[in-house]
Symmetry: D2
Subunit: 286 residues, 4 copies
């Protein structure tokens, strides 16, 4: 089991009379991730509406802030009890056996144009042995064919752009892997977290986007950018792609500062809590 | 109230050993649409799994068909008790008051790149009086700036393409209107139905895509293509865009014939059931 | 040497009072291609302006036709004295030594977005030994990663689309190869001809688009679609991409029939004229 | 007549052993623009090849620089004897009367997808009285429907993107206007110059992209971004779009600094040389 301390500070300057915020920054509670403790501070003090999506466990915070400074700080201690499985035992689930609520993750979405990548995905990966090995091969293909390059893309960049331009950041890697998997009829979605394990040379800790694949009736986590240690990924949001799970959707004229993120492991040998480490096994946190 | 008889016949030739089908052809049951009677025939006789989405009321039919001919015929009689409202009374719902489960209809989706249309939508419609009048102005803008032209687009065409190329069919009109509304932070989704009222010169009756807008805490129906009589629209599917609600998603090598669709009004003066007619009022079927 | 008989019949119905046509259907005269005889018939009889591009040798025919039927038939006998060279002897020309009038073929063009394919081209082909071997490897990559599929694309499809969608016809293969070569700073252009050697199962003879690469101070011909016999390619137009060399650009309301094309070898053993055959050598017709 | 002093300083750090540069920074000599004096300094001293395009008058400077610092400074005094004409007297030239060498400016190019904008251009501007009034209306449409926003686009942004996203810088305004004019069969090209007259609040003087339209057998200059005083535009390059006339095309690993540009009027009442001023007349510098 891993225990992580996560904190995020958001800082805004509202220019309109009022502005609305939808924040998805709180740690999710899932069958395998539990929030040990957490604290939310909003300054100035404002009432915020809370909502937890009954299926995806996303926690939304909605607030309306008046003109001026807005600061939000959230801090949590979270336990993740990873489900680890030998990849060789995982298989793709036939369409006929997919739970109905998994079917939407076969459809194309804003940043994952799987409908345009059918021929490519089938040509490149269609003949492979199916299962985790194939999914991992797609992850490797993306990691080996796209260059991680900060500021080479923007929030409108999609998987189709990345197939052409071959540069991007974590969300671009994730979108491309999602699109390729869906093009092969493998349900795939995005999970947002923090980039635990990322090289400090890449800059301060930041939000991170990774991929979840539905295999053997469970969602498995993969990071096609290769910059994180997957067992250190603390789930915040889950959705079809980045369009579903922005950490902040803002309505109104607002100036934003870059979010300040902290993520650190809290080990406790007595309680059986260790450091997040790389594992050759398939990892699920759901 | 309107009563409609709807029938659809699908005809496939499965080339692989087996192929999977996800069909969304059955009439939905909503607070204002009820299925009076229905019948489904599959030939050869096959077991089909049925699923109704608890939120959207979409009815999915899943089946696995062996090599050879597959025929599906569905027929239903459906009553629609429209909710009609004076458009002038309808207002856009502030972000702070939107139900949480309506928020996904603010996000961009595969065929509705609202994130790319922000500047355009705000420049063109941002200064207008908000509410049904503004939504109707967007509907009129789309209808007047895009030419209905069969076969000018394909199933990969998106709202951004339509802004550039200005031709399309019903789904292209709908995608563009959806994208523009979402760019203005108005929750908007797609509804699939039949093109009741379409000029016979446009060819045989067909599936039809229209738009639903969330105003005054209710979803209102608009057809930006202008080819249908909206009170004759019988709801089949509801989703973010056409990617969510194909009438048939097919997995495997299959040859398809064009679906044969029938739609006709069943009037009954004694029961207070009339012909679908144009109305200046805002129409809701939810 | 090869001698070919080529004929094309174009048939139009002008709906406006008048319509303008720019036709690029006549066989080009180049240092290695000579027109032995030719005949042009326009019905009704109309005056046509003729223009030959001094650099590219494209022959344009401009005419203005009144409402009604317009028929054009062009027929030519053409000799091609191919320059054949061992590919191993051909090298890429350093930027510093390129003739200035070759430089435009390094720039991106409408259907060849080489500027977007830099990372991809360099990653895939950047480390290869340069010269004909590299160019041929690009040709093979395109042929092996794109599926020839009639009607899968349209006249707006570009190289970036083909990288994503991986299907297309001859012009799509050519555009992608051109874009990849330019992304590597190899001057590359398009040549239009007839699809000599194409399998009759692909349908009637048709116009064909192939690629010319500038190596060792000469333009070499390659067909990335692989459907033609390159020594049977009779040059009609030369340009940056298909946008430069349509066989017909039409201004006004006109209905077009599919052009009827004939292409056949005229062998003459006595004169040393043989059948076009495949050769492992690099081929130039300039 | 106007006399302008223009200077540009380019500064590079070559990281490879050698890098190649193609520079288009020198003032063009056209029938109405003459270079009074000029000076070019390259440091370290390097041999440069010079080329002047016989048709477009673009002056290319090609040089090969070794690893290390490369500095280039060009300075010129240039006279422009504008041809001014009453716009009402200018008409669009029928296809049948266009010089053949003007025809390429009807075709779509990398950043000007006129082929995709046919329906839009015809719907919006097709019914207008043709001639300068229509061209000016297109210029006004672009200026009024796109927001000048630094850094909102990049060097891959095209006219089709700008129709969707409605923000950009001078080259985006120019590309969109060019694409719209070509979609109406009006020959249109790009001219690069300096942004004479631009508000100092927009930052230091910079290269600038404007539009040239072929009317009444002459090329007329328009700035759809509206930021310059057109009579102060000193021609550097002329081409189909920005892809043809980059001020610097660089081959090799090179770090670039932002070019430093100076542009100032040199008035001389005795010689009849005044300040560039706005004029309601149509302006040609060719």
């Amino acid at each position: 089991m891993n225990r992580l301390r996560y904190a995020v500070s958001l800082s805004y300057e509202v220019r309109d009379d009022m502005a609305d915020f939808l924040l998805n920054i709180e740690a999710a509670s899932t069958p395998r991730q539990s929030v040990v403790s957490e604290r939310l501070e909003i300054s100035p003090e404002l009432e915020a509406a809370h909502y937890t999506d009954p299926v995806l466990a996303n926690r939304l915070l909605r607030l309306r802030a008046p003109q001026g400074r807005l600061g939000i700080r959230y801090e949590a201690i979270v336990d993740i009890d990873h489900y680890l499985e030998d990849g060789a035992k995982l298989s793709e689930v036939p369409i006929a056996e997919l739970p109905f609520d998994v079917l939407p993750y076969l459809a194309p979405s804003r940043y994952c144009e799987s409908d345009r990548l059918m021929e490519f995905a089938n040509r490149e990966f269609g003949g492979m042995q199916t299962g985790y090995a194939r999914v991992y091969a797609i992850r490797e293909w993306v990691r080996n064919h796209v260059r991680f390059l900060s500021r080479s893309t923007n929030e409108r960049t999609s998987a189709a752009d990345t197939v052409v331009e071959r540069t991007g950041v974590c969300r671009d890697f994730a979108h491309l892997m999602i699109a390729l998997c869906r093009a092969l009829s493998i349900p795939t979605r995005m999970s947002s977290s923090l980039d635990y394990g990322a090289d400090v040379r890449m800059g301060a800790p930041d939000f991170h986007a990774v991929v979840e694949i539905y295999l053997s009736h469970r969602w498995y986590l993969l990071d096609p950018s290769g910059i994180s240690i997957p067992t250190g990924l603390l789930r915040i949001g889950t959705g079809r792609d980045a369009g579903d799970i922005p950490f902040a959707a803002i309505f109104g004229k607002v100036e934003s500062e870059r979010p300040l993120v902290e993520i650190e492991p809290l080990t406790d040998a007595a309680a059986g809590i260790g450091m997040p480490v790389f594992t050759p096994k398939a990892i699920s946190t759901w």
